[in-house]
Structures are given as C-alpha cells and as structure tokens.
C-alpha cells in the first residue's frame, strides 16, 4: 500500500529539523550580518566588487555549513526518531533540502541587509564626523551579477541565462555533494575535504566558463560539455538521486 506524498508531513519534518535548535532563526541572520559587516570593513582589498563577492561567498558558505550541521544533528543525534517517524524517504529528503535552501535564502537576505546597514552607517558617520569614508563608495552597487554582463552589450540573453545558471549550479553542486557526504557518513574530514576540492574545481571551471563566454571563437567538444550548465544540472540531479538512495538505505547503528 503506497501512501501518497504529503506536503504537511514534509513541512513537519522540516520543522523538526529546525527545532533541534530553536534559536536558529535568530542566530543565523545575526551571524550572517556580523560576517558581512566584519568582512566588508576589515578585508584589505581595494576592489570593492571583489570584496563584496568574497563576502557573499563566505556568508553563503558558512550558512550552508550551519545548515549541514542541523542535518547532521537530525540524522546522527536524533536518528532514532528521524528514521522511525512515519514518513516517506522523499519527504525526508525534500525537508532536508528545504533546510539548506532556507538557510541560503536567510543568509542572502542577511547579507544584503548587512550591506545596506554598512552603507548607511558609512554615509552617516562621514557626515557627522566629517571624516573620509571608511569604505570607498564610488563604485558602490549592491552585488548584482548582471552588472558584470551589462558591460558587454553583445552578450545574448541566452548567454546571460547560461551565466546565471552556472552561478547557481556550481555552488549548489558543492553544497549538494557535502549534503550527500553528510548522509553517508558523520566524518567531518571527508565532508570538508570533498567540499574544498569541489569548491576549488568549481572556481576553476567558472573562470574557464567566463573566458569561454566572452571569447568569440568556436567552442571545442569538451568546452561544450564541461562548460555547459546542463552538464552540471545533470550532475546535481545525479547527486540528489544518490542522496535519495543513500537515505533510503541508511542504517542507524
């Protein structure tokens, strides 16, 4: 007898993952905003855009690590309950992915809020105390990836679409791989190593991708495959399927 997928059950599982630490909704944004502020103020990089980017990446990565910690608690500390509550494996999987997604959304929102606060504080203090601004604000624009592309009017909508896809898929792939590792083992070292490895690979691939995007030459075969977002989307789907299978056969020793 197959019971059908239930959104309510999924939400309940999602809620139970979050409630392993009830202050999460406050802790996460606070940490995210603090990191944003401190990075932006103390990072000794002249290029404002680069420091924004680095901060953004750090905040989102840290939030995902925190999210994975929640999932780790659910599987390994609370495993007896997590795997015996009447629910389908798909529901468990989606609840966990929702946790990661929510973490991401909160951290991005916190990042932007932190950034706006910083700009406000910057102009406020500059006016009151008549000192030079501690942040160079000539080129201030809130991190907007499309700005990079708008510089080159020749880029087609398709290219822009590909760019956005890669921007989302590559990091997502790193997080999903770490997620799969969390399901398979509670060993932190393996998870961190794989994550770092994929992170570095993603950065390299992204650099190649950007060069490919702006070059006008014809693409080679391997460029078409490995620099196409479709490939990475397929990989992501593969990792999610592997996660499902591993979750279904997970034993709590």
């Amino acid at each position: 007898m197959k019971t059908s997928f239930s959104i309510i059950r999924t939400l309940n599982i999602y809620r139970s993952i979050w409630q392993t630490s009830s202050e999460w909704f406050i802790t996460l944004p606070v940490i995210a905003i603090s990191i944003t502020l401190s990075f932006m103020i103390f990072l000794p990089i002249d290029n404002f855009f680069v420091s924004q980017l680095l901060t953004f990446i750090s905040v989102t990565t840290i939030s995902q690590i925190m999210g994975l910690k929640l999932i780790q608690t659910a599987i390994y500390n609370n495993g007896f309950t997590f795997f015996t509550i009447p629910s389908r494996t798909e529901e468990r999987l989606i609840a966990m992915l929702m946790t990661l997604a929510t973490n991401l959304v909160i951290s991005i929102a916190a990042y932007y809020i932190g950034f706006i606060l910083l700009l406000l504080a910057n102009s406020f203090i500059t006016e009151i105390f008549q000192i030079s601004p501690f942040i160079q604000t000539e080129n201030t624009c809130l991190l907007n990836p499309l700005n990079i592309l708008s510089q080159d009017q020749q880029l087609s909508h398709y290219s822009i679409g590909q760019f956005i896809c890669m921007l989302i898929t590559l990091p997502a792939l790193c997080f999903l791989a770490a997620f799969l590792c969390t399901i398979i083992t509670s060993n932190q070292w393996i998870k961190s190593s794989i994550f770092m490895l994929l992170y570095i690979c993603s950065t390299v691939i992204f650099i190649f991708f950007m060069r490919y995007l702006f070059s006008k030459t014809d693409s080679t075969l391997w460029q078409t495959i490995f620099l196409s977002p479709y490939f990475y989307i397929l990989l992501a789907i593969g990792i999610i399927s592997a996660s499902f299978y591993k979750l279904k056969t997970k034993q709590i020793l």
Partner: protein
C-alpha cells in the same frame, strides 16, 4: 505480529544475532532480557527498521520494516534508552512528533504528563534528565501505536515515578497491543511483564508467556532433599527452580529464570518444550 525468520546480524567481526527464529504475538507485555551487549537493542532496532538484518527476514504485520513503509512505521514506536531532546518546550516537543501518528491520543499523553508532574510549558533544557525521560515516556504512550518498544524505560526514574509508570502502562495495555520492554531492572516491572524473551549467545533461547512457564516450573525455596534444575543462595535459604509436578503455580521470578537460562539452558528448555 512480529515474525523473525532466520535473522542474523553482525557488526564487523562480532556476530550479535545468529539465525533467530521467533514470533512475537500481541496482547502481551514482553520483558526482553539479556546480558549487556547481547543484542537487545539490536533486536529492537531491527524491528523498527533502523538497521537491516544481514540475513533472514523480519516481518511486522507481514511487511519488512527495512522498507520503512508508512504502514509499518505508523504501527511502531521506539523509546530509546537516551532519547534526543531539542531545546523547546515540552508541549512543542510533543506536538512536533504527535502530528506524524494518526493513532496519537492527546488524552493519554497529557494524562501521563500530569501523572509525572511534568508541565507542558516547561523548557526541556531546564528539566532534569529524569523529567525529560518522563516527557519522552508521555510522548511514547501518547502515540498509541499497536507496537511499543521501550529500551530501559525506568532507568533514571525515581521510585514514585516507577510506580506511576507501571500504572500508566497498565492503563494503556490491551489485547491488541504488543509491548516489548528491554530491561535489566526486572524487579521494577515484574508485576507487569507477562511474557519473556531471553537473548543469549546470539540467539533467542526463550520466548514464552509466564503463565505457561509457571505451569511447568516452580520458583521457590528448595528443601535439602530436592534436586532443583537451578539453585542460588538467598537470605531466605536456597532458592531455585524445580520442575512443577503439582497443580500449584508459583509466580515466575524473572531474575532466577534469567540466571537459570544462562547457566542451565538445555535443562530449562527441555522441560518447557515438554508436553507441548
């Protein structure tokens, strides 16, 4: 009904369960006895699908728990020895998990909380270990599942609470429910246990209801001229187990039975399986 067919399970080099064949029927409160590390918790985990057997099949109402189907999971609840507690209020903790069980009975749950004197408004992290355990017990009873697996439920409870636990368990027991209590504290629960499963040497060596046992074995003081199957010294003299040739029954002394089964397995089993 829970059926164990040729179940084997090892952890690395160590075989914990080997070729176990047994049925566990509803309507009884089973005491699951065994020495430390002999596989009691492993057996409970196999029944609720947390781990899978290396060989053989486990069937709960005809389905394998390893598939974690909703019908199996809805009919079992496992209360582990050390449950995990989130940092929330008692009532939040209860509502969090109650929503998954269609059979959840709010009245039983809150009646249990009240009997244990645990307030639903308390924060779990501000409660003592014993009080948290009581909240977990209240949730377990509240789920009202046909199969209830309790791993050392009275550990950590003070003496009055053990009494309340017994009353609550007596109040939820019926002939369609199976309760399996894995415990070392047999004295706490002797009046409630009416069937016993003994695990020894990677096998279930005994799975009987106490009424049948007391018809065939007597548990009492041993006279000098008698040859009991098993004896041990006690403040009252030598007590032991002797074949029951009379129509009188004595209450089954679970500690005595356990010790006897561990040391004189063949003799005990021979008498119990006699005239089946």
């Amino acid at each position: 009904m829970i059926q164990l067919k040729n179940i084997s399970r090892a952890f690395g080099e160590k075989t914990v369960l080997k070729q176990i064949n047994s049925d566990i029927r509803p309507g009884y409160i089973y005491g699951l006895l065994g020495k430390n590390g002999e596989g009691k918790t492993t057996l409970l985990k196999l029944i609720c699908g947390l781990i899978f057997p290396d060989g053989g099949t486990c069937l709960v109402n005809g389905e394998e728990p390893r598939n974690r189907s909703l019908s199996v999971l809805s009919s079992i609840y496992l209360l582990p020895e050390e449950p995990y507690f989130p940092s929330v209020k008692v009532k939040t903790y209860i509502n969090m998990y109650a929503s998954f069980y269609k059979s959840f009975d709010k009245e039983i749950c809150y009646r249990s909380l009240k009997a244990f004197e645990v307030s639903p408004e308390s924060e779990l992290k501000s409660l003592s270990l014993g009080q948290r355990k009581k909240a977990a017990i209240a949730l377990a009873f509240g789920t009202n599942t046909p199969i209830l697996l309790l791993d050392e439920p009275t550990n950590g409870l003070d003496i009055p609470s053990k009494s309340i636990f017994r009353q609550l368990l007596a109040s939820i027991m019926n002939d369609k429910r199976t309760v399996i209590i894995s415990t070392h504290q047999v004295r706490d629960l002797e009046s409630l246990i009416d069937a016993v499963i003994i695990l020894d040497k990677q096998n279930i060596v005994l799975n009987e209801n106490l009424s049948d046992i007391s018809k065939k074995l007597s548990f009492r003081k041993i006279m000098n001229d008698e040859t009991p199957i098993y004896r041990q010294p006690s403040p009252l003299g030598t007590i032991g187990i002797i074949e029951n040739t009379t129509n009188e029954e004595t209450p089954v002394d679970l500690e005595l039975l356990f010790n006897a089964v561990i040391s004189k397995q063949e003799e005990i089993i021979a008498i119990l399986t006699n005239n089946r």
